[in-house]
Amino acid sequence: MNTLLTSILGIQILSLPLSILVYIDPGTGSIILQALVATVVGAAIAVKLFWHRLLKFFGLRKGTPSDPNAKPGDLPKE
């Protein structure tokens, strides 16, 4: 957990000024955890999309991924 968090923190680009209108405390630990989860689920989506495109390329699947047993990151059915 610690090394993962450190490597996330290592991916820094520019620092942006915080908006003065963000009046609630976002919580340092919450921001860090958010970055971790967003990266993990974002990667999971990317892998799923890539896998779907690969199968589509080989003619093994049609259309867009709309698995009812959606994994995290899939658009929920409205």
């Binding site: 520019l14 963000v22 009046y23 630990g29 921001i31 958010q34 971790l36 989860v37 689920v41 929920p76």
Partner: protein, 470 residues
């Protein structure tokens, strides 16, 4: 303008605040929010959210100069019919409120904006659905910036939902103690072990709680963190997925079987409905509170006549069932809420005024107290005099059912205790209630021992209100 005209719960956000102009509730938009407000209105986000009934509409009051020097605009939001709070909502209501918040955040991101707070108090139930009422919660999305309201969302929504699903349905009551949502370390400690092997719960609750503790006094650690928009969208989707998956444990409460085993046969039941519908037509109330509404069978009679109804019950499962039913039938004028009449919602928050007690909410035109009196008088040892005084102050019109000792439900209540209720009978009931009410009608239900009354409160405040009503 005095401090008193400001809304007691609207003071934290520098973007603006709610205030009363006479009886009207208005929202001042401050100069510092001008850019974001214009972006909200001009980007198409406002129209999109209103069209989908996700955000409350507002009217701009061009001639109103506001109440302080830094006013940019004054807007008049559409009013919701009843203010309720997340600790009064049932499981499905909290779930729907959470999904509404996430849907709004997703759409906002698509329009280049983001929610700067995601408090459960930003949601009110309006025409049967959860709707976002804080127009000033939106700010311009800056590429790479994390979602500032993520922590608040987890505490206000995920925490109670997880606790209700995995530990106990009653744990949303913790929201009464913790006005900014249930702390995640407390939530984590109350959840069973199996929640640690669920990936999303592990991330959003358990590790989140640990991360909060670890970085408690290290504010600068998160300053430079960037999150790609696509990853942020994925995060929001993961929260939606998680919320949708939450389910209540199968629980059998006595109320679940209530209508199967009560002292009614079909004839009694339909006669009771007939009597009540008649009384409702006589009163013709525009708002009504149904106390002990259970699954809303009788509240529906008032709703069918066009009344705006609040259906209160102590049983969270009954309220949940009522809510799911009104959703299915698309009924817009019933709001089911969890409420213990012997310990109703108190006034809490800053100065004990931020969130109103049940008694401080506007009085309804009528109150129904069906199959309730024996629970108050016998289970809770409340004398008739106190019950009638309480009800007489609640509303001008009362429809109440007297349930005698011969009734099977009362026999069940007296099974395990000594019968100290020597004055629990129709005669004493009528005697005590006549001190606070005038009796307008009385009818016994066919093939039952129960009696239904229609009464008018003698309380002076209703005479005065009647005289000054437009």
């Amino acid at each position: 303008m005095t401090l008193n005209s400001l809304h007691k719960s609207s003071f934290r956000d520098p973007s603006g605040f709610l205030f009363y102009d006479g009886a009207r509730l208005l929202r001042q938009v401050n100069n510092c929010y001008q850019t974001d407000y214009q972006l909200l209105m001009n980007s198409g986000l406002y129209e999109k959210l209103c069209a989908e009934n996700l955000l409350i509409r507002h009217e701009v009051l061009e001639n109103h100069k506001g109440v302080t020097d830094n006013a940019f605009k004054v807007i008049a939001p559409e009013m919701v019919s009843f203010i309720s709070y997340p600790y009064e909502w049932s499981f499905s209501q909290i779930k729907d409120a959470a999904l509404t918040t996430l849907k709004i955040q997703k759409i906002a991101l698509q329009f280049g904006m983001t929610l700067k707070d995601s408090s459960a108090y930003n949601i009110q139930f309006h025409k049967g659905k959860p709707v976002f009422i804080d127009t000033l919660s939106f700010e311009k999305y800056r590429e790479g910036k994390p979602w500032q309201a993520y922590k608040q969302f987890c505490q206000h929504f995920l925490a109670p939902l997880a606790l209700m699903s995995y530990t106990d349905i009653r744990l949303n009551q913790l929201l009464k103690l913790y006005l900014d949502g249930i702390p995640l370390d407390l939530t984590a400690s109350l959840l069973p072990f199996k929640t640690k092997i669920n990936f999303l719960l592990l991330m959003h609750i358990h590790l989140h709680a640990k991360s909060q503790k670890k970085y408690e006094h290290k504010g600068s650690a998160s300053r430079d963190i960037q999150i790609k928009l696509s990853n942020l969208m994925a995060l929001v989707d993961s929260l939606s997925f998680m919320v949708r998956k939450f389910r209540l444990k199968k629980q059998d409460t006595e109320w679940g079987r209530y209508y199967t085993f009560t002292n009614y046969n079909d004839l009694s039941f339909s006669h009771k409905k007939e009597i009540i519908s008649g009384y409702l037509r006589d009163i013709h109330p525009s708002t009504l509170w149904d106390l002990g509404a259970n699954t809303g069978e009788f509240t529906n009679l008032a709703a069918l006549q066009g009344t705006n109804c609040m259906a209160f019950d102590i049983d969270p499962l009954a309220v949940d069932s009522n809510y799911n039913n009104i959703k299915k039938q698309k009924i817009g004028n019933i709001l089911p809420l969890v409420m213990d009449l012997t310990n109703p919602s108190p006034s809490i928050g800053w100065n004990n005024k931020e969130r109103m007690s049940m008694r401080k909410r506007p009085n309804p035109d009528a109150v129904m107290a069906l199959a309730l009196i024996h629970h108050l008088a016998i289970s809770n040892n409340l004398p008739f005099s106190r019950i009638s005084k309480f009800l007489s102050k609640l509303s001008e019109n009362l429809i109440i059912e007297f349930v005698p000792k011969s009734d099977s439900q009362v026999k069940i209540l007296l099974e395990s205790r000594k019968d100290i209720f020597q004055e629990y009978d129709e005669m004493h009931f009528e005697k005590e209630f006549s001190s606070f009410f005038d009796f307008c009608a009385k009818e016994k239900i066919r093939e039952s021992e129960r009696v239904i009354y229609r009464m008018k409160s003698k309380d002076k405040k209703f005479k005065f209100a009647a005289a000054t009503t437009i």
